[in-house]
Symmetry: C2
Subunit: 351 residues, 2 copies
């Protein structure tokens, strides 16, 4: 099977580029003594999760229980879920997961820890809990070292829980994040509680991870495929983007307008610093000016050659993670040859 046999819209993943991205990150992490923990939200595929671990990743990061269950089913054994888990239905699923693989979770508040403590009571097989810290990016997380200590004490006091360390996402700049986490670690250690792990993450700042004082783990998702957002943020070039969306030119209403057969349901509507909604590899001067759900409108004014109706183009999306979640399958490519077609088995998984 060849690229010409693939119906559009479709996701293509260049295996050589993805492999190079994975290897480069692992080498960097190894060089700096950081545990690498890839976030599977970007690929949603056991295929790549296994490969990341084979290359040396410590384990994987999931955001939802449903993702973690898929990965555990596929043989992944070290899973961190970086979202407060609330309610009986989810805690029961977490307990089932904890019974079969090594799983760690996070908390940034008392009620969430109370929920864990009530459900997990076996001191012989405690649940690892990290305290999530807001180091300046204003999403989740405790607001101070003192709050981190309060939660660490609460976890430490619960027989079925084990305080596993500190975690942040998104980080603020590496210096500020490092200072925040180092202070919190010190305060907790001064109180006599060990801090085994200090974890930061994020693809745009991956190769500055060693500038963050005190961390020993780095979590990273998008780096495997990269996208226009990452390139705009300084992570490599457009040639380092492994995933493209194959689309067909469905209409040429005017000399300078083309429409493609995929819109926000294929490319996602996320915007980034680069102009438009994607980079067309075959026509780098084209601008994807507008998306509706099933149409991309393209301005061809700056293009020396303009594609005809029926031409197929590969579009590097602005934000690759949300694109993968829109498709049921992906095509793994070696050049123009399809090596495998995979179901995106951790797609969806709303809870």
């Amino acid at each position: 099977m060849n690229i010409d046999d693939i119906d559009t819209p479709a996701i293509l993943i260049d295996l050589d580029v993805a492999e190079a991205n994975m290897a480069r990150a692992q080498t960097y992490a190894d060089t700096h003594g950081l545990a690498l923990r890839p976030h599977i939200k970007t690929h949603r595929l056991p295929y790549f999760a296994r490969r990341q671990v084979e290359l040396g990743a410590k384990g994987i990061n999931c955001q939802k229980l449903g993702e973690a269950e898929v990965m555990a089913d596929a043989g992944l054994t070290d899973i961190l879920i970086t979202f407060n888990i609330i309610g009986k239905a989810k805690l029961d699923r977490l307990a089932a997961l904890h019974a079969r693989v090594s799983v760690a979770v996070v908390a940034d508040n008392v009620p969430v820890i109370e929920g864990y403590a009530a459900r997990f009571t076996d001191a012989g097989h405690p649940l690892d809990v990290l305290v999530e810290c807001d180091t300046g990016a204003e999403r989740n997380g405790v607001q101070s070292a003192q709050q981190a200590l309060d939660l660490a004490r609460l976890i430490d006091a619960a027989p079925g829980l084990r305080f596993a360390g500190l975690l942040t996402y998104p980080p603020s700049d590496p210096k500020a994040t490092g200072a925040w986490l180092t202070k919190a670690r010190q305060v907790i250690e001064d109180a006599g509680i060990a801090v085994p792990k200090v974890s930061s993450g994020g693809s745009p700042t991956l190769y500055a991870a060693h500038e963050t004082d005190g961390i020993n783990e780095y979590r990273v998702g998008t780096y495997i495929f990269s996208d226009r957002m990452q390139v705009a943020a300084g992570l490599g070039t457009i040639q380092d983007c492994a995933l493209s969306v194959l689309l067909t030119v469905a209409s040429r209403p005017t000399e300078n307008r083309a429409t493609l057969d995929g819109g926000s349901k294929a490319l996602a509507a996320d915007i980034c610093a680069a102009p438009g909604h994607g980079h067309i590899l075959e026509h780098p001067d084209a601008i994807v000016t507008k998306l509706s759900e099933e149409h991309a409108v393209v301005d061809l004014a700056a293009c020396a050659e303009k594609p005809g109706i029926g031409a197929r183009v590969r579009v590097i999306p602005n934000h690759v993670c949300v694109v993968v979640n829109l498709f049921d399958k992906v095509h793994l490519m070696r050049g123009n040859k399809v090596e495998q077609v995979l179901d995106v088995s951790a797609r969806g998984k709303s809870n």
Copy 2:
């Protein structure tokens, strides 16, 4: 099963509100002698497609072959696909569909019509083809009445095709759209070709459809559930929104900040004229300021009562169609009671 038994994130559909929205639109269309053809991209569910037809809809509108196949499997018999269909794989599927239900398609260019004409050659069972017109919104469509006539002639001359009329989307304002379509119809009729159907559409302008001269069909999707975009555009109020996303308050990092357990993967990132990324029914003064993929950050500064960790809230999304496509199932509600849980059977369907 009750609302309290539903794990979050989850889609809730208020059946009474959806039913009222469907009935109101059908009554309006009947009053003005317009055929109503609902677009299924909003609900992606045979359940509602069948109900729309029961209430008097002429047939349904799909955007992708995959959606049309799901609807045909579910017993829908009159299907219009409003996207140029290109390539052997898709034309073969179209032929299979044409063999079992009444199907019509569109074209706005010569190569697409040549594709239809080469694949459909049975004069005894011709394929209906409408010419898509760009009446000012600059997406797909022919640019002039003369171009519409040229394509109508090409369709009319193909033994296996039947020219079925004119179609536009998105329309420009009703007067301009009406004038454009009326002129094109006249030019084509003057050339001796009948124009059975003239079709416009769009939820925001649904109740001004009768002001569009010369149309006899109106296609409409979002009206069934409505959303913040529609309300901002003048279609009813927030109480007319039938679909909400049930989320849990997962964190309260500060006095005025909450985070919910769903982000752009639950609410979609589309923005609209109203502030923020959704309307929280229980806290109408809250603003959903920021979405990441799995987090919604909420500013509670203006709220008299602020929800605690674990509280559950219903969020009316900005753009409902893309939200439905992100979930695998929906909950049909009568008040707080779950009447049915349905798989979103036409979700995804990239091609």
